[in-house]
């Protein structure tokens, strides 16, 4: 999004630095690494269960020199039951992570919502203002043996944000030639998981009517029912009715929450809300 404030520049610079080191020519290792990605494309085409996908992902992760992978929707605020989550992190780590309720606060997830290109965890510092709790999370991960990592954001409009992360064993660092194959594997794996999830849960995403969407968008801009009524040329009662229906569809009871849900799943865009 164009309105990110002064941090935007820093982020862009740090991401560019990470990718700058990429060779542009097809050197031999690039060709070999791409063959491994192509094999993964064929693997996931044949997989129909999450178990198979997990196995294929574990194999390609190891072949590309990494120890851990974690493919996840950052949170599914509507129905946590159909959020995607596949990983091979140490058991203790996943439990601790869940106990802390970190799904939405994990600094890696937060950073991933800010960019569409994969990023190294070493550049988190430039992407976010890290809080004390963020540093605790990163320290705890290191203590669990999770080393340097790379996260591929997965943004599909109209759906919850997600990502696919890869981490090396602690003590091993990330090299520039790791980025390109991981970027592809992350994107392909996320899509494969998404396809499986869709086949398993036929639940349609929340859909608002055009009028409900207009009301929610104006509410997100901070307009009152009266103001929305004036803008849309309808009665205040009608606006209230549209918003109530939107609350029901999301299963929430507050104006701010319905706006957050609609922004989160892409029913309305940040640009619609922030542009004058």
């Amino acid at each position: 999004m164009p309105r990110e404030g002064p941090k935007q520049h820093e982020r862009t610079r740090s991401l560019r630095c990470a990718w700058n080191a990429l060779p542009l020519r097809c050197a031999q290792p690039r060709v070999e690494k791409f063959s491994r990605v192509e094999a993964f494309v064929n693997d996931v085409r044949r997989t129909s269960t999450e178990e198979d996908l997990k196995e294929a992902l574990a194999a390609v992760t190891a072949d590309l020199g990494f120890r851990y992978f974690a493919l996840t929707h950052h949170v599914d605020v509507r129905a946590s039951g159909n959020a995607i989550r596949l990983h091979n992190y140490p058991d203790g780590w996943a439990e601790w992570f869940d106990e802390q309720g970190l799904g939405a606060h994990d600094p890696v997830h937060r950073a991933s919502n800010l960019t569409s290109v994969g990023f190294a965890w070493s550049s988190l510092e430039q992407m976010l203002v890290l809080t004390r709790r963020d540093r605790q999370v990163l320290d705890a991960a290191r203590k669990e043996g999770i080393g340097d990592g790379f996260t591929v954001p997965a943004h599909v409009p109209g759906e919850a944000h997600g990502s696919c992360s890869f981490a090396r064993a602690s003590g091993e660092t990330l090299g520039p030639d790791h980025l390109a194959p991981l970027q592809l594997v992350g994107a392909l794996a996320f899509e494969a998981a998404r396809r499986m999830k869709r086949e398993r849960f036929s639940s349609a995403p929340v859909r608002l009517t055009d009028r409900q969407r207009d009301c929610v968008m104006l509410a997100a801009r901070g307009k009152s029912d009266w103001e929305i009524a004036r803008i849309l040329g309808v009665s205040e009662a009608t606006v209230g009715e549209h918003l109530r229906h939107a609350y029901e569809r999301y299963g929430v009871g507050k104006r701010t929450l319905v706006a957050v849900h609609a922004l989160f799943d892409g029913t309305i865009g940040f640009f619609d809300v922030l542009s004058p």
């Binding site: 542009l24 690494k33 194959p181 899509e191 865009g269």
Partner: protein, 207 residues
């Protein structure tokens, strides 16, 4: 809304839909994405590939206004992947009579996000429809990596042609999309297939 398939020399001045398309391309690729592209009269984005060999798939509104479009280039002639980014392919860029490159996939910035998704769906559907009509088996394309997840999520049969790499305009990757009779079904399973009207095919007279 109308779907227009425009073949032959599409001069920006020839009608308001085409003029709108070239203006929206400037707004999207030059103003928004900051690609280094030639701009004519400070208003339209038009390059050397916009010639009589290009085909345009266009979604237009009630009054003919441009809402979204893509440019198709034959791979048997100079095209973006083959001539500008061959290093994005692990092997030689695919070329052939049944292989066509999608370029300048453009959605008008005048629409809201929700409307843009509808227009995007119609454009993707029209591209699949056109491929099946015209006997195109494979679409290729160069995509900014942010786009890749979306292109995969359309649900059609899509594979990378090589590892992505960084260029001045961003991290780019090369893709191939196989089009077959089941493509509309695959798109429909993802809620993408939206073909509300039979596309209108216009073939320009050679000047």
């Amino acid at each position: 809304m109308a779907i227009i398939i425009e073949q032959g020399l599409a001069a920006p001045g020839s009608d308001s839909t085409l003029r709108g398309m070239f203006e929206d391309r400037k707004s999207v690729f030059v103003d928004l994405l900051k690609w280094d592209l030639p701009v004519l009269d400070g208003r339209v984005e038009l390059d050397s590939f916009d010639d009589e060999h290009a085909t345009y798939v266009i979604i237009a509104g009630q009054g003919g206004e441009h809402l979204g479009s893509a440019r198709l280039l034959p791979t048997t002639r100079p095209h973006i992947l083959g001539n500008l980014f061959p290093s994005l392919c692990a092997q030689k860029p695919p070329t052939g009579r049944n292989i066509v490159e999608i370029t300048r996939f453009c959605l008008s910035r005048r629409q809201s996000s929700a409307e843009r998704l509808h227009i995007r769906n119609q454009l993707v559907s029209a591209l699949a429809w056109h491929a099946l009509e015209a006997g195109i088996r494979t679409y290729t394309g160069v995509a900014e990596i942010a786009w890749l997840q979306q292109i995969l999520a359309f649900g059609w049969n899509c594979r990378p042609l090589g590892l992505p790499a960084r260029f001045d305009c961003g991290v780019l990757g090369a893709l191939a999309i196989e089009i077959a009779s089941d493509t509309p079904r695959l798109l429909a399973k993802n809620g993408i297939w939206e073909l509300r009207s039979e596309p209108l095919v216009r073939i320009a007279e050679a000047a």
